[in-house]
Subunit: 108 residues, 2 copies
C-alpha cells in the first residue's frame, strides 16, 4: 500500500479531521507520536502507510473511538487490494464467508 486513491473517508482523512477539529498542529501530534512531521503529514494524506500502532495512539490522543478508526484503517487496506477489480465485490463476499467459516469450524 501507501498510495492513495481510496475515494473518500480514508483513515487518513478521518485522522486529519480529528486533528483539525482539535486545532492541533502536525508538529505537536508528531511530537506526541515521536515521529517526523513529514511522515504524519504524508500518512494523513495517504502517501505513507499508516500502521495499526499509530492509529491506536491517535485514537488515544484525540480521545476518539479506537475501533471505528481501526475498522476504517482495515477497510482501507482491503479496498486497496481490490482497486479497479471488477470482481471486487464477489471477492469481499467470499472473504466474508471464509472468515465466518474459520471462526465456526476448528478454523485454520
Amino acid at each position: 500500500m501507501s498510495i492513495k486513491m481510496l475515494s473518500t473517508n480514508t483513515v487518513g482523512e478521518k485522522l486529519r479531521n480529528l486533528r483539525e477539529e482539535q486545532k492541533l498542529p502536525l508538529r505537536k501530534v508528531a511530537a506526541l507520536l515521536d515521529i517526523d512531521v513529514a511522515i504524519l503529514s504524508k500518512m494523513e494524506r495517504g502517501e505513507r502507510k499508516i500502521t495499526k500502532e499509530i492509529v491506536l495512539k491517535l485514537a488515544n490522543i484525540y480521545k476518539y473511538n479506537a475501533d471505528e478508526l481501526l475498522v476504517s484503517f482495515l477497510s482501507d487496506k482491503i479496498l486497496y487490494e481490490i482497486q479497479d477489480e471488477a470482481l471486487g465485490i464477489e471477492a469481499l463476499k467470499l472473504a466474508e464467508e471464509r472468515v465466518k467459516y474459520m471462526k465456526g469450524g476448528d478454523g485454520e
Copy 2:
C-alpha cells in the same frame, strides 16, 4: 503477502488440485508459464505470492473458469490483510459499502 495461513481453499490449493486432476507435472506447467518449477511449487503452497497474471494463464492452461480463480485469488489477499483482526468482519462490511458507494456516486 506471501506467507500462508489462510485456512483452506486458497487459490494455491485450487491451482494445485487442478494441476493434479490433469496429471500435469510442475515441470510442464512451469514451462508453459515460463517460470521456474520452484516458484510454481511455492506459489501453489502459498510460500510465494501469486500474481493475477499467473492466475489467468493457469485458468487458460487448465481450461477452468478464470473469474472463480480470480475471486479466490483476491479473497486470499483480503483475508491476508485482516488476519487475526478482531474487527475483520466489520472492516469487510465497511469495505463493501464503500465499494458500492464508489460505483454509485461519481466515485473517483
